[in-house]
């Protein structure tokens, strides 16, 4: 190799070695640290008292309004409770209002005879909001 050629090689090598940035994708790295996320919050106020309407002598249709997250967005599931109008603990709710209800209405069938009131509580898994005020009493036979 001649001295002229070596000079050219040296210049080319120097040029290649002084690039400021690696080619796209040629440099890789990993980093370890933390990412973040935040959870929503169910609204701090209870929804309005539900409306209970007698469908038959033993079937009661319960309707309620939507609860929301503080950050926005509707809550999609609710727990319906029935209490004796005279007071006392919640009675066992029957089909088809048992369990979390993914709707804004349900009809409880075969309700025992008595005077009853209903409440609604937003519920998502273990998350719960405030229980609503009680509905007006409804009498089943």
């Amino acid at each position: 190799m001649t001295a002229r050629n070596l000079t050219g090689v040296a210049a080319a090598v120097a040029a290649a070695a002084t690039l400021a940035a690696p080619a796209a994708g040629s440099w890789t790295a990993s980093a370890r640290g933390n990412g973040f996320n935040r959870a929503k919050t169910i609204q701090a106020t209870a929804v309005a008292a539900p409306t209970a309407v007698l469908q038959t002598t033993k079937n009661v249709r319960v309707t309620w309004s939507t609860a929301a997250f503080v950050e926005g967005g509707a809550i999609t599931t609710y727990v319906v409770r029935r209490y004796p109008a005279a007071g006392g603990g919640a009675a066992t709710i029957r089909a088809a209002c048992a369990g979390p209800i993914s709707a804004l209405t349900c009809t409880e069938n075969n309700v025992p005879a008595g005077s009853w009131v209903y409440t609604i509580t937003p519920a998502l898994g273990k998350w719960t909001g405030l229980e609503s005020p009680r509905s007006l009493p409804i009498v089943t036979a």
Binding site: M1, A3, R4, L6, T7, V9, A10, V13, A14, A16, A17, T18, L19, A20, A21, P22, A23, A24, G25, S26, W27, T28, A29, S30, A31, R32, G33, N34, G35, F36, N37, R38, A39, K40, T41, I42, F69, V70, E71, L124, G125, K126, W127, T128
Partner: protein, 162 residues
Amino acid sequence: MLPKWSTKKIALSAVVGVAVVGSAVAVAAWQTSGSGPGYAKAQTASVLTLSDASASSSADLYPGATGSLTLKVTNANPFPVKVTSVALQSGGVVTSNKGAACDASTGVSVTAQTGLAAAVAANATATLTVANAVAMSNASDNSCQGATFTIPVDVSAVSNAS
């Protein structure tokens, strides 16, 4: 026509230069080439760093929902990079600012994300949002409402020079 001693000097210079380039190729994953007048100066590239992005995170998680992962990435290198993947650290545990009851059952899981192209400019810090990277199950404790979750992750990136 160069004298003999000069030819040898140039040849030595070329050999040294090639050796430097060869070294740079061998460790291309971690080094970049710096600038210099006629010689190569290896410069160790800076690793990326992650910092607190809690104030920028979106509140989108609730039981049954998926949400986004927010990362604050600082690239101290003189060239742009792009984040290509993120995953929960092996053995990593998600914690919250709501205390033990929530920490014991956050219900938060992380789905590893690959094929990302989240750009971070040279010598810059960027807040990145990785959609659908986290989810919350019905196991999330009631005390987790409004929580900020800290999620230990591993992030991969590549150079993104145009």
